[in-house]
Symmetry: C2
Subunit: 715 residues, 2 copies
């Protein structure tokens, strides 16, 4: 019924397209439109951010003019010469297109004409890329089909900019010898990618769809929107329906959410221009706007994306995708003043209708600090497959943040890290996630692709701050099994002084239930809110349970009975990632243990419940790494003796400071002493600890939303 | 004869002191003087830097007023509560003194009165500090005598500021019960420190001398200047003569030079105020000005001091000593415009006559970029004990810098690192020095003092980028032996495009001559100047020679035949620092080897001459480290087979870049191939290498100043 209705609406809308397309035949027509070019030209003189952004584009365009055109026969993989040259070419084509529109200097348009004719004369001769990989759809310009699609998304915009400059004869050559074959390549030869509900599919449909609009080929736009079968089973709209949760979360995680956004946004803008009657920005309750906002909420205050799942760690919201995202979200969807703060930090706008508005409003002083919120972001296209909990306190200049990952597997780029967490403070990562094992585009590192250690280490459970059962990764490291299940949210409270998130995972191990509750709690007597972590593991049979904490910093105190491997290191295990960990030392505590480390001039103490039979293994990453692919990360792992059920309690304080220039230090010891379990049942956990001479009691009532978390005693 | 003359001059000068002291009886009288208070008060309103600097002082003073006065019985070591409280107290006393002079708010003066009376009522009851260490002169307020002296240098200035506020009766109590006993403690009880030619002695004489001026006790000032015996054999003037080289180099190295400077400068300013006829700033050809300028030349462009010898690595010229140094150097010695650039980077001035002038001139736009110069800085009080060679190219925003250490031992804080080098580029360290093994003021790390690993690791030769013979440190790790000898300069050329430094060390090992020549050479076809390193080791008998390169970054390429210790690590040796190194892998090359690593988004390739019997050991620091005291540094060590003589040739390129936000990479491989030794004799070394299809020849003629270094072929 719902489907019938959709088809009906669709028919009406397609009818509209043809009519409208004629009305919209002026070029350029996507990010920067003919009717706004004069205003943007004027804005470049008035608004500093637009001016500096255009200066960058113009400099890139001038650099392109300065060098001879090079269109090499595709040969190299990621990072290699031909790869980088074709990448530069698409950037140059767009830069010169924009520069032409703004300056009307014909040299820029001539460059685009020349290079496109050059490609048109050669493209059809190129076979599938020689560096293509098995099980990876190949491109013809690049080793991956994906990169060819990205190329076309940029290039078609450059073409749109110089459309009016080109003679009909030249357009004919370029369209017939280059763009039509490319569209055929995408829609026919690599039909599977085009019809995949996946970010690679989005790049493919965006490339074809925008090309359809610019070349006035409505059938291509229709295929892009509704799939090759034009039945809505695949294509852009279905991708919007399925790839994001109702909260706009993309299930591969923030790094790929960012990457996936660009074609979604640029194509949405094109749809809005050519088929405004589709109301694409309102589609599915405005899911695209939510996706942009959620992507920003998935960053720390330094702009870095939370690096869970496969992720390059230095990636920030300064990346181009988010510049597009923020500009469009502000100008075309909703003008939220705090987006301007992000735009300022991005230090650029797209030279476009949207960029004009953003730069003008920043210039008018409308910017407000970006509002980071404690939030639960639902995963799953119906919002029922777990999610990501984010707890935050403090101002943007010094924010504490806990990221709790209880999302679904995230397909091939997902890690086996159910109920993992990351902890940020003081501008950076403190308890960390490895991200992916990859040196992107550095050809000497496995061609710039994911390294073998991405699978053998980065995806494995032990690489994360969550429980490993019997030294085996969640779902035995099997993606397909992981895709079948998801964690479930138990409780979330964003109350400012007592932020709590709790979730369960019952399928990562057969017969073992994992339940983790984390809090960020403001308490008298503590310099900063206290992180509270209660990880309950229950089973009918006895298991080994390991809970690692991977920290950034240098240990300044670990008052444990310590047995150090001073003259010989061996790996902690032989597989599931353990083969990559050197065991440096093993400590034991009596009741309560603690580890204090110094990170960026501030101290952190993790105090944990540990009886004398619990081993605290201090480890360094780097074993079985013949190619120096792994970073030397450090961690400690809590390992109680084999048992049926166990509850880990860890309390992390942020305290004190050092100033190496002034050589002053304060507060180098934590204040928590004597953690004691009072009662621990299926439906509740109650424990006490001492701090600053007072006893504090924490009570967790898992079945009672009203008394889920209570703190008593000390305050 | 010279001595007689000095005594004569001295007698004349002392006569002048009494007369002048009366004329100078107005308080305050040291950094901020009575006649300038009104101008400084006015300047605070006019000059932003003076204003923000005063705001900081005032905020500190207000914070002092807000809290109850605490003068605890001395109990804790460095970093502990009583240590930090007494440190805060002296800072508060000076801050409140200054705040009183500027604002005339009597509450600040009352604070100083109260706390000084409090100290006066308790000081004489305090015995030697309970945490004092054997062979370390004790203090009474602090565990080290040194800290007591520092305390007094600050406190006497605070007293000077409120002198006129205090009644004569109060002054009498404070002077008789606090300052006089302190002076007695310094000059009598710890006579040895007071009369030592050492930076601890400087703090002691400065404390006593300034106290003498402020309290009008000329005999104390005289003792401070000329030693307890008033014979000039010890005391401040002799320290000025002996502790600095004619170039103003302090032989413990930059970290301690900075530290030593403060009492030298503050006391010099006091001498200038009270005994201007001594022309203290002109003493020994203006050695104090040279010391300040040399201290600045001993920093990289990020402000960090070169961390050779015992040094805390995060220390920069923002440290207070250099704020004093720059202000006084500019205002009282010579107004060099580039000092204002440093003052701007320090972001503060001292609220003083000098600070006023600096802030005013910055406000007037007189600042010029600090001029970093390639330079040879002579060591030894006669300038004949080796020195430090600094090669520099490029603008301050992206400077390449080689620091070549051919200085003398540097007493107890010296490391066994003859002919060591450090390499900086792109804003930071690339080939590194460990600095000291110390977490200053963090009591849980050996009381904040030097760690045991400072001796067992940081001082050892293998911790540095220089040759180790037979796995034994220079001078067998014996300071006294090291003090007997020094390297000798062979050649230095600061020519902009071909900077060269060469020196020998013939005594570090019996029967082994070390000679190292380093260059920073601008060459066509290279993105950045090439670092050339030729290390010649000669002996009549066969030895093991190890040359380590400790690098910061991550290896991206090491095209060697590699044998990796994948599942078991063992230390590389059992003593001389080798016991702290894990051996990760051993590589071999055929003729020319190379290692490329990525550091701060730029690539570095070290290409070296290595036949197939040379082992290249890849190592990580951290063995035999039961208390997690060592950082995980990484290095590789070139180890040719045992032989009589050997010449290491290493060429380091800086190339390419990565941009993780834009995900672009270029130039990830170095360009040097096929290094070949052509001839290698006692008096010359000639070698060739290929780069970018050209053959380049380097010729070193050690005995020929005119043809010392020539490059031919490629360019």
């Amino acid at each position: 019924m719902k489907r019938m209705k959709l088809i009906l609406i669709w028919c009406l809308l397609v009818a509209g397209f043809f009519g409208n397309a004629a009305a919209q035949s002026k070029h350029p027509s996507i990010m920067l439109t003919a009717k706004n070019v004069a205003a943007v030209r004027q804005g470049i003189k008035q608004y500093p951010l637009l001016q500096s952004s255009f200066n960058d584009v113009e400099a890139a365009a001038d650099e392109a003019l300065r060098l001879p055109i090079e269109v090499p026969v595709p040969k190299d993989g990621g990072g290699g010469y031909t790869h980088e040259q074709h990448k530069r070419n698409y950037q140059n084509i767009l830069a010169c297109g924009v520069a032409y529109q703004i300056t009307r200097d014909a040299r820029y348009a001539a460059y685009v004409e020349d290079i496109l004719l050059n490609y048109a004369g050669r493209y059809e001769k190129w076979p599938l890329h020689p560096k293509r990989k098995e099980n990876h759809p190949a491109g013809r310009i690049f080793w991956q089909n994906l990169n060819d699609c990205v190329w076309q998304v940029y290039v078609i915009q450059g073409y749109d900019h110089v459309y009016d400059y080109l003679t009909p004869a030249k357009r004919k050559i370029i369209e017939e010898k280059l763009f039509s074959p490319i569209v055929k390549f995408f829609t026919v030869d690599t039909y599977d990618v085009f019809n995949r509900i996946h970010n690679h599919g989005t790049w493919s449909v965006a490339a074809v769809g925008i090309t359809g609009y610019v070349m006035n080929r409505p059938e291509w736009a229709e295929m892009a929107l509704r799939g090759s079968g034009k039945d809505g089973k695949t294509g852009y709209l279905m991708q919007l329906n399925q790839l994001f949760s109702p909260d706009g979360y993309y299930n591969e995680g923030p790094y790929y959410q960012r990457y996936a956004l660009l074609p979604f946004i640029v194509f949405a803008r094109a749809v809005q221009q050519y088929q405004p009657q589709l109301k694409i920005f309102e589609h599915r309750n405005g899911v695209l706007a939510k996706a942009i906002h959620t992507c920003l909420q998935l960053t720390y205050t330094n702009g870095s994306f939370f690096p869970f799942n496969d992720a390059i760690k230095d990636k920030t919201f300064e990346s181009e995708e988010l510049v597009y995202g923020v500009d469009i979200a502000y100008a075309d969807i909703q003008a939220a003043a705090d987006l301007l703060d992000v735009a300022k930090q991005q230090k650029r706008v797209i030279i476009s209708d949207a960029g004009l508005k953003v730069a003008a409003d920043i210039h008018a002083g409308k910017s407000k600090p970006f509002v980071y919120k404690p939030t639960w972001i639902k995963d799953g296209n119906e919002g029922n497959k777990g999610g990501v909990g984010i707890l935050r306190t403090g101002p943007n200049a010094d924010q504490q943040c806990i990221v709790f990952k209880a999302a679904s597997q995230g397909m091939g780029h997902g890690h086996f890290d159910r109920l993992n967490f990351l902890y940020y403070d003081n501008g950076g990562e403190v308890i960390t996630d490895y991200g992916s094992a990859r040196f992107i585009n550095i050809e000497t590192k496995s061609g710039g692709d994911y390294l073998p250690e991405n699978k053998s280490w980065a995806k494995q459970t032990i690489a994360h701050n969550t429980v490993v059962v019997d030294k085996t990764s969640h779902f035995n490291g099997n993606v397909d099994s992981g895709e079948l299940y998801h964690p479930n949210l138990v409780y979330f409270s964003p109350r400012a002084d007592m932020q709590i998130v709790s979730a369960t995972e019952e399928n990562a191990y057969s017969g073992v239930k994992l339940m983790r509750t984390m809090g960020l709690v403001t308490m008298a007597g503590f310099e900063k809110p206290l992180m509270i972590d209660v990880f309950k593991v229950s089973s009918e049979t006895a298991h080994d349970y390991d809970l690692p904490f991977w920290y950034a910093g240098h240990i300044t105190n670990a008052p444990l009975k310590m047995n150090t491997n001073k003259t010989r290191l061996e790996p902690l295990g032989s597989d599931n990632g353990y083969q990559h960990i050197w065991l440096n030392a093993t400590g034991t505590a009596t009741g309560t243990g603690s580890v204090t480390f110094l990170n960026n001039k501030r101290f952190y103490t993790n105090s944990f419940l540990a009886d004398s039979s619990t081993r605290i293994n201090f480890v360094t990453l780097g074993a079985n790494d013949p190619n120096f692919n792994l970073r030397s990360e450090k961690g400690f792992i809590l390992s109680p003796p084999k048992k049926k059920s166990h509850t880990f309690i860890s309390l992390v304080e942020s305290h004190g400071k050092t100033n190496p220039v002034a050589e002053t230090t304060s507060g180098f010891t934590g204040s928590i002493r004597s953690i004691k379990m009072i009662t621990d049942r299926d439906d509740s956990t109650v424990f006490e600890f001492e701090a600053n001479g007072k006893t504090h009691r924490v009570s967790l009532q898992y079945g009672d939303k009203d008394k889920f978390f209570t703190l008593s005693g000390g305050r």
